[in-house]
């Protein structure tokens, strides 16, 4: 399985993330879903927010499908000592759970904000 966002990994709020998911599986899946979500990593309990999804019912074993999401205004991709917020699109086959993920950053200039960085005090 592969997922791409037109070769981009940096986006600004409100932009369109357009890409394609491809898969070549051993058996035909019941469905394939492309999920747009953010998640946290760090010292505390992990948090996840599903923002949007595109679902393809009864697809072929081998296919390529386009998807398009409008990115929200927040949360920005950021990292501090205690928490990082990260963004990703993930393609998941059901019911096998086989998946592939593409990480990207969402921010005012497309970059991850580093908390405590002199550039972002």
């Amino acid at each position: 399985m592969t997922v791409d966002a037109g070769g981009r990994t940096e986006f600004r709020p409100g932009e369109t993330l357009a890409g394609a998911a491809s898969w070549n599986l051993d058996t035909a899946p019941k469905a394939v879903e492309v999920r747009l979500f953010w998640y946290t990593e760090g010292r505390g309990t992990q948090d996840v927010g599903l923002v949007d999804k595109a679902r393809f019912e009864q697809p072929l074993m081998s296919e390529r499908r386009d998807f398009r999401f409008t990115l929200p205004e927040q949360p920005y991709s950021l990292s501090g000592k205690l928490v990082s917020v990260r963004w990703a699109v993930e393609v998941v086959a059901e019911p096998s759970g086989e998946a592939q993920r593409l990480e990207f950053t969402l921010g005012p200039n497309g970059k991850e904000i580093l908390l405590g960085d002199p550039v972002n005090p």
Binding site: E41, R43, Q46, S79, K81, V83, S84, R86, L114
Partner: protein, 200 residues
């Protein structure tokens, strides 16, 4: 320079991904003992000793022998379960179902009796406790310093001498609580008090 949380080898999602390591026996041996106990037993150990990780890794093994697995985790001070939850458990827990109950020490005597009654027909019942009781002890979770260092090494891709020293200190300071010790290493790493991990 900020140490990004996502680069910290001791971040929670990495700790949650650590697998239970059977001590001195294989999973097959452990399951054989549980079967000999009528598939009813307790996992005993202090907080942060790996009981939850053990239950997590037990679930797919019970599924592999044909049991449906119901997971229940009790919060601090939860001395009873709501009546509708007990009813739901009673209807779900037949001979082909297993109940994995994390935090059974939270239940009061009446709360425990109600859960045991709801699970009386269950194919398996495994609970975690801080002290022995309620069900015969199946596994004692008593992590050693050597096991802790093994976990630290796995998380960091190989311990530097500095990291190993810090890990030993953390393990002693937290009285063998693996999770608390690892979180203290998270703090040390984020504050630059631990050297960069040595990657193999």
């Amino acid at each position: 320079m900020t140490t990004r949380a996502r680069d910290n080898p001791f971040s929670t999602h990495r700790l949650d991904a650590l697998r239970y390591r059977p001590q001195g026996e294989s999973w097959e041996d452990m399951l054989g003992r549980l079967e000999a106990m009528g598939w009813r037993g307790s996992v005993v150990g202090p907080e942060g000793s790996g009981k939850t990780a053990l239950l997590h890794d037990l679930a797919p093994r019970l599924k592999a022998i044909g049991l449906r697995v119901e997971n229940l985790r009790l919060g601090f001070g939860q001395r009873t379960l709501p009546v509708d939850t007990l009813r739901r458990l009673s209807s779900l827990l037949d001979g082909e179902a297993a109940l994995l109950l994390d935090g059974a020490e939270q239940l009061g005597p009446m709360g425990w009796r109600a859960v045991a009654r709801s699970a009386r027909r269950a194919g398996a019942l495994v609970i975690t406790l801080h002290r022995p009781g309620r069900l015969p002890t199946w596994v004692w979770c008593d992590p050693s310093e050597a096991l802790f260092l093994e976990l630290v090494s796995e998380l960091t891709g190989g311990c530097s001498d500095e990291a190993e020293h810090a890990a030993r200190k953390a393990f002693a300071a937290h009285g063998g609580n693996v999770r608390s010790s690892l979180l203290s290493l998270y703090d040390a790493y984020s504050e630059g008090r631990l050297g960069a991990p040595r990657r193999e």
